[in-house]
């Protein structure tokens, strides 16, 4: 299937439900090397985004992504909330003039999402952050778009790449943000921000019926 503006509320309802379900797990994961607020802020942020899209049906994909980004910024004023809001706002710009999310648009969206977060968060690849999952994810979708895959196939492949990338963060030592203070001790633990990225692509993939 494909995705247009009318399908966005469903997508964000999926995000909302999944983050509500994973709230406790994220709190515990983040609590090992951070201040344990990740589960709460993501649950709050995506609930606000889903509510905003239900209150005001988006006219275009870009509008809907902007509405979601603004809602997350307001409801989740933490570092990850700010990064997610940035991701959706930048992704929205990449969808300007796009009516239906084909694989090329999906690739543009996630590339802009990743670039926005990289610029705002100023982390490098390998620092054990959300970027270490977002980057391989976005690259996979771009390659799938090149190969002529459907959005469902592309997002399924990206979800698999994200899962592997998330696993690989266990071997990394945190270099950025509060977790950096834990250094060596952060080894063996999967990155909490990367987990968020993984959830997003899994639910996106599910929304495409993959």
């Amino acid at each position: 299937m494909t995705m247009d503006a009318k399908a966005l509320p469903d997508l964000f309802n999926r995000y909302r439900d999944r983050f509500a379900a994973e709230k406790q797990a994220l709190i515990e994961l983040d609590g090992k090397v951070g201040d344990s607020d990740l589960g709460l802020t993501m649950a709050k942020g995506f609930t606000a985004a889903a509510t905003a899209l239900e209150e005001k049906a988006p006219e275009t994909l870009a509008d809907g992504m902007k509405t979601a980004g603004a809602a997350i910024a307001k409801a989740a004023p933490s570092t990850m909330g700010t990064l997610m809001a940035t991701g959706f706002l930048r992704g929205a710009k990449a969808l300007d003039g796009v009516d239906v999310m084909d694989t090329a648009a999906l690739a543009d969206f996630w590339a802009a999402f990743r670039d926005g977060i990289a610029q705002r968060g100023k982390a490098q690849l390998g620092d054990k952050t959300v970027l270490d999952v977002l980057h391989p994810m976005a690259e996979t979708i771009a390659a799938q778009a090149q190969a002529g895959a459907s959005p469902a196939e592309a997002s399924r492949a990206a979800a698999q790449a994200a899962k592997e990338a998330l696993e690989a963060t266990k071997e990394m030592e945190a270099q950025h943000g509060k977790a950096a203070a834990f250094g060596e001790k952060s080894k063996g633990i999967q990155d909490a921000g990367g987990t968020v990225a993984c959830i997003l692509i899994e639910e996106t993939s599910a929304a495409f019926g993959a």
């Binding site: 910024a73 809001a85 940035t86 705002r120």
Partner: protein
């Protein structure tokens, strides 16, 4: 910890309630005490918004008023305001001429102001950003972009505020503010630490006879920690670093801020200025404006900073222009 508090967690909100009670010329919007704005916006003027963590009064909100700033996002102690709070302030102060974000170089503030700017763009409000980075001690020359913003930002507020009050367009306000930024330098010295109310104890210690040259206003490490010296020697060491940054030629003019960090008395600030004025006199550089007092503090930290703005024909009248805010009053010269 020995502070006048009710509950540590109410420190910021109760401070804000006190300020609103004392100064009807400022108010808050969006039903949030942290969204601090002037009660008297000027139609058609470029809006200027600052912001940052609490614990630095008069920074940041203290400069909201006539001839200076229009709004401030107020964060928790040493914490950035949220992007949404900055956005609410932005929407309120925008008078159709765009909004300048003018704040200090700290990663949390940059993240939230940048996101607020993107959100404002969605609402068709034009924003521009100038980030203060006057603290010489926080990075080598050539790496100025890594330097923290400290008391010298008050010069930037003054210049930007005067330019906006003269109804200059956003691009011109930005140009003049960037110019003031390029010509502003600050050096600080700390004698004692400060205590974040919700933490309850100092985050570092300094020996009874020690000082730390170049320490940041949140206790960030400075350049050297050593035995306290006579005031003139301390000033000489600080000013040597400032003089090394720019060519202050005979006949040039400067504006100076001698700033107390919270616990240092005015007397000592004037002992500092005595020596500073001698150093400029030796160079035949004249001091067109000096402000001495508390401009950017770190709660009960003892210490001081010296900020110098190297004036030129364009900046001098902007510094001289009158301004009135709850914490800053300047009669036009």
């Amino acid at each position: 910890m020995k502070k006048f508090l009710n509950k540590p967690e109410d420190f910021v909100e109760e401070m804000l309630e006190g300020i609103y009670a004392a100064h009807p010329e400022v108010t808050h919007v969006a039903d949030d005490l942290h969204c601090f704005v002037t009660a008297n916006p000027v139609p058609g003027k470029v809006g200027i918004v600052t912001g940052g963590g609490s614990g630095h009064l008069p920074l940041f909100l203290g400069y909201v008023g006539d001839g200076m700033l229009d709004g401030a996002g107020v964060g928790g102690v040493f914490q950035s305001p949220s992007s949404d709070q900055i956005l609410e302030v932005t929407k309120h102060v925008d008078q159709g001429a765009g909004v300048l974000y003018l704040y200090g170089n700290y990663s949390g503030d940059i993240m939230n102001f940048d996101l607020a700017g993107e959100l404002a763009e969605v609402d068709d409000i034009e924003t521009a950003t100038v980030v203060g980075n006057d603290d010489v001690a926080s990075s080598q020359p050539g790496e100025e972009h890594k330097r923290r913003g400290v008391a010298g930002i008050v010069f930037l507020y003054k210049v930007a505020g005067a330019a906006a009050a003269e109804m200059k367009p956003l691009a011109e306000v930005v140009r003049l503010t960037e110019k003031a930024k390029a010509r502003t330098r600050t050096m600080g010295v700390a004698l004692t630490p400060c205590i974040v109310p919700e933490v309850g104890k100092p985050s570092f210690t300094l020996g009874e006879d020690e000082m730390e040259i170049g320490m940041g206003i949140h206790g960030e490490p400075g350049i050297t920690r050593k035995t306290l010296e006579p005031a003139d020697a301390v000033v000489d060491e600080m000013m040597e670093r400032i003089f090394a940054e720019q060519d202050y030629a005979a006949g040039d003019e400067v504006a100076i801020i001698v700033n107390g960090l919270g616990a240092t008395p005015m007397e000592e600030l004037y002992i500092f200025y005595r020596r500073i004025s001698q150093l400029f006199a030796e160079r035949n550089v004249s001091v067109a404006q000096v402000w001495i007092g508390e401009f950017a503090t770190s709660m009960e930290m003892a210490g001081a900073s010296i900020s110098v703005l190297h004036l030129d024909d364009e900046l001098k009248p902007l510094i001289a222009r009158g301004a009135t805010t709850p914490f800053f009053k300047h009669i036009a010269k």
